[in-house]
């Protein structure tokens, strides 16, 4: 149901950037405490929230701190006493915050954090890239990645549901600048829907309590640490269905479904598919339609919405249908491949009839990736299926080595 058809809630339509959509969702989630430290392209999220506190008197406490490390420490302290907590960061800020991000993950505190994706220096860079959003997937966090501003709002709400249910904190990644600073209309559900969807009275076995004092994360001997890590591993591994269920439940309440862990686009009869995350998915979908029209290639798009839990079950089902998957990574694992391509290969290796998986790396540091680039990927995948093109370990999109040599000569 598009928001235009949804006349009943038209009064709740706002035209906002994705950063404001995050702030609105945090307001609607009735978050108690936030830690704030500015970094582009995240800064306006916390600015919007402080504006709501000033102008609407929302019952939220925002602590302005001296670093991202402390911003997460604030969220951790708040969550540890059972409050609903939020923070946001990006890029270098996440790197500085990293120690506390890991502590929150392994303390099982249901914090939600927005990361507006941005590449990391050197060289100093502001452009969009997904590497930062993906890092916390190794740090005991769930990681979700919406496509547009409406889905950003909805995913923040869903993230609190997921975190409160599993006691695993959740990162919601959104494309820096491409979404964070771009306005789109979003529909905001009635507050009562959100209140019922994410009630605050869920069990909080981790919450500190002066009647029965205990501490978090005290030292253990080596004979107990592995068991804590195993517990986090299994909880995240077992959450694939939960992400689907939360999406379905939300769809019943709002009419908006995103496919749970994966949005499947034109996959029913697809022979080749490109796997992509976030805002570029729109371009990939256009490309799939175009190569169907132009060349009759049965092309589709696998839009990865959940990186943790990694949707091994759903991906395995899709892999039974398609003959080649091109994984487009706006990130990289140096010397190996795209981070997601690496995980896709791990997930599918045990299948008897597994498809070709080709890793594509592009768009790093905000380099433009066009619909034509995705068309090219889909055409190449078809050629691989037909045996007319070799599969390579990694293929680079938009790599211009002549330009960089010219730049350095002129320095």
């Amino acid at each position: 149901m598009s928001i235009i058809e949804d006349k009943k809630s038209l009064s709740n339509v706002k035209v906002v950037t994705a950063n404001e959509a995050v702030a609105l969702a945090v307001k609607c989630a009735k978050v108690d405490v936030g830690g704030a430290y500015p970094i582009s392209p995240q800064t306006s999220i916390m600015e919007y929230l402080t504006k709501y506190i000033e102008t609407e008197n929302i019952p939220m406490e925002i602590v302005r701190v001296e670093s991202e490390h402390s911003a997460m420490a604030v969220a951790m302290g708040a969550a540890a006493v059972g409050a609903r907590a939020f923070t946001a960061t990006a890029s270098q800020g996440l790197l500085y915050m990293a120690e506390m991000v890991y502590w929150v993950g392994s303390s099982r505190l249901p914090v939600v954090m927005a990361i507006t994706s941005r590449a990391m220096g050197a060289p100093w860079i502001l452009g969009n890239e997904h590497t930062d959003v993906l890092l916390p997937r190794e740090w005991g966090w769930m990681v979700l990645f919406p496509e547009d501003n409406q889905e950003v709002f909805d995913t923040i709400i869903q993230a609190y549901k997921l975190a409160d249910t599993t006691l695993v904190p959740v990162v919601v990644g959104l494309d820096g600048f491409i979404l964070s600073h771009t306005t789109m209309p979003i529909s905001i559900p009635d507050q009562s829907i959100i209140d019922n969807f994410i009630p605050k009275n869920t069990p909080k076995p981790y919450a500190l309590n002066t009647e029965d004092p205990f501490t978090h994360g005290n030292a253990v001997h080596s004979n107990l640490y592995l068991e804590f890590r195993h517990n986090i591993f299994k909880t995240i591994e077992d959450s694939e269905d939960l992400v689907d269920e939360i999406d379905k439940e939300w769809s019943k309440l709002t009419g908006r479904s995103y496919g749970g862990v994966i949005e499947e686009f034109l996959l029913d009869d697809a022979e080749v598919a490109v796997l992509v995350m976030g805002a570029s998915s729109g371009d990939a979908k256009e490309a799939a339609k175009k190569v169907r029209e132009k060349y009759g290639i049965k092309a589709g798009v696998i839009r990865l919405r959940s990186i943790r839990p990694f949707p091994v079950k759903r991906l395995s089902k899709i892999a039974q249908k398609v003959k080649a998957i091109g994984v487009f990574d706006r990130n990289m694992s140096p010397g190996l491949g795209g981070m997601i391509a690496t995980e896709v290969k791990f997930a599918l290796y045990d299948l008897k009839n597994r498809p070709i998986v080709q890793s594509y790396i592009g768009g790093l540091g905000g380099k433009d990736v066009k619909i034509a680039d995705f068309e090219n990927i889909l055409v190449e995948l078809k050629e691989m299926v037909d045996g007319k093109r070799e599969v390579e370990k990694v293929k680079w999109v938009g790599l211009d080595l002549a330009a960089i040599e010219k730049f350095l000569e002129e320095v």
């Binding site: 099982r108 006691l167 030292a219």
Partner: protein, 83 residues
């Protein structure tokens, strides 16, 4: 799946008998001790045993042998000796 929260309650020796970490141990010379209890106040691991008359001794089960007590004693009544 049952969630394992890494929580713990205050308890003596929550991470085991830390006295095993020691390479040298503090020894109190009771003839020199003036019962000022500065060592008791400074010990980072609360392993100085303080008695009713303010005389002190060392809890060797948990003393890590850091030497802070010997360093702080104003009358050099605590000596670190090889353990």
């Amino acid at each position: 799946m049952k969630v394992l929260i890494p929580k713990s309650k205050p308890a003596k020796g929550a991470v085991g008998k830390t006295g095993l970490w020691r390479t040298s141990k503090p020894v109190v010379n009771h003839n020199k001790c003036i019962k000022c209890v500065i060592c008791w106040a400074f010990c980072p691991e609360t392993t100085i045993l303080r008695f009713e008359d303010n005389s002190v001794d060392i809890d060797y089960e948990y003393c890590k042998g850091c030497g802070v007590c010997a360093n702080e004693c104003p009358v050099n009544a605590i000596e670190m000796v090889e353990d």
